[in-house]
């Protein structure tokens, strides 16, 4: 269970949001929305432990994430609006040499096939389009079995097919008792699974 208690954030001396509280249980999907600049990315980074809250605390399985960082990280999969992939390495190398998981080339290959990138294995990522790079990043969802997904605009630059694939993958994750926190401005079928809505800047 992920619990956020009275979270507040500041950027450049200005209060972005305050008093954000929620608790996320197995199979829950939290949809985070709000206008540009309302602090969605800041809140997501805070939930990952990358940004410290000005006020409030976050706990994972009843333990504060700050003091149990390694255990929390073992359950967390975060994909930010920056892909977290090296642009000079190709898709295969990026996923195989990822610090996060151990996966053999067959697994990586089939994951890339599922996201529709098996034809671009040997191109460095900087030669792929934004949408294709995002697909490589999302292939991590298939390779790493983590309980909690925190995804910042996962659908940005994705085409209709990829959005549909993502929605199905997310639904499966929730069925298996996983949790997810997602921001998006796009229409997608996974919205029907949302169990908690958090709106910032209201």
């Amino acid at each position: 269970m992920l619990q956020a208690n009275a979270l507040a954030a500041e950027r450049g001396g200005q209060r972005l949001f305050s008093d954000v509280s929620f608790s996320l249980k197995d199979g829950d999907l939290l949809h985070l929305s709000g206008s540009n600049g309302s602090g969605k990315t800041t809140l997501l980074r805070m939930l990952c432990g990358l940004t410290l809250p000005v006020n409030g605390d976050i706990s994972w399985q009843q333990k504060n994430i700050e003091s149990n960082r390694d255990a929390f990280n073992a359950d967390l999969l975060y994909i930010g609006h920056r892909h977290g992939m090296h642009s000079d390495l190709n898709a295969l190398e990026n996923l195989q040499l990822s610090t996060q998981q151990l996966s053999n080339s067959t697994m990586v290959f089939s994951a890339l096939e599922e996201v529709g990138l098996s034809h671009h294995l040997n191109k460095p990522l900087r030669l792929l389009s934004q949408g294709q790079q995002r697909r490589v990043a999302l292939a991590r969802l298939l390779l790493e079995s983590r309980k909690l997904w925190i995804l910042d605009e996962p659908l940005a630059a994705l085409d209709v097919d990829a959005v549909e694939w993502f929605s199905q993958r997310l639904a499966k994750h929730l069925e298996n008792g996983g949790m997810a926190i997602v921001t998006t401005h796009q229409e997608a079928s996974f919205i029907s699974h949302v169990s908690i809505n958090v709106v910032l800047g209201s």
Partner: protein, 228 residues
């Protein structure tokens, strides 16, 4: 289907990835080395071909050039990783970040410090160094350049993403580089004058051990602060 990696396996994986990246970006990697060669080769031209003078200034020239070449290479240590988001991922691994940061530092030394050590005998000859001085130049560079990478990583992490970070970086770490400069040139001069250089070398060794213990840890902490 998947499981988390052990600490050693993660360490090796980061090192492998860093070396592969270095190979892909080899033009960037060669810059410090070429800078090192150019600076040292210019001295005989500027000072004049007096073997006596060249021999006297050689230890200082080589070491100052090594310091500046390392400084030149530090900007790329974390910058690309900051912009593509891989640095965030590094801090979110279940393994202690300091261990993975250490792999990055080792890779930095292998691609920046080690080439300086290997090319130094050639440059030492161009400055008319004696064979004893040449051996001690290599030895001090071998012990000293890892310290430059380790301390440099702290500075690079602290100034990450700052505007005008380059100047700040130099001001921050050059004072910490000065002991390495003093003891290394001291060792070369002592040895070439027929004295024992053991004292100087021991001090460099002690400095290396201290930085090996503390620098990865301080760097990972600085990265957390810089990414906040």
């Amino acid at each position: 289907m998947t499981h988390n990696l052990g600490l050693l396996a993660s360490w090796q994986r980061v090192l492998k990835r860093e070396l592969l990246l270095a190979y892909r970006q080899r033009n960037d990697i060669l810059t410090p080395l070429i800078f090192f060669i150019i600076v040292i080769s210019l001295f005989p031209l500027g000072v004049g071909p007096e073997p006596e003078i060249l021999r006297t200034i050689a230890p200082g020239v080589i070491w100052v050039a090594a310091l500046l070449a390392t400084l030149l290479s530090l900007a790329r240590l974390f910058n690309n990783e900051l912009h593509d988001g891989t640095l965030e991922q590094l801090l979110l691994t279940p393994q202690p970040a300091s261990v993975l940061v250490f792999a990055k530092i080792v890779s930095h030394w292998l691609t920046t410090g080690l080439p300086l050590v290997l090319i130094s005998p050639l440059l030492a000859l161009s400055l008319d160094m004696s064979s004893t001085a040449l051996i001690y130049t290599m030895l001090t560079l071998l012990l000293g350049t890892p310290i430059l990478s380790l301390i440099g990583a702290i500075g690079a992490a602290l100034t990450l993403g700052l505007r005008g970070g380059g100047v700040l970086l130099a001001l921050l770490i050059l004072p910490l580089y000065i002991p390495v400069l003093i003891f290394s040139t001291g060792a070369i001069i002592a040895a070439s004058n027929g004295f024992s250089a053991e004292g100087h070398l021991s001090l460099i060794g002690a400095y290396l051990i201290i930085t090996l213990i503390f620098a990865p840890w301080v760097t990972s902490y600085a990265l957390r602060v810089s990414l906040d």
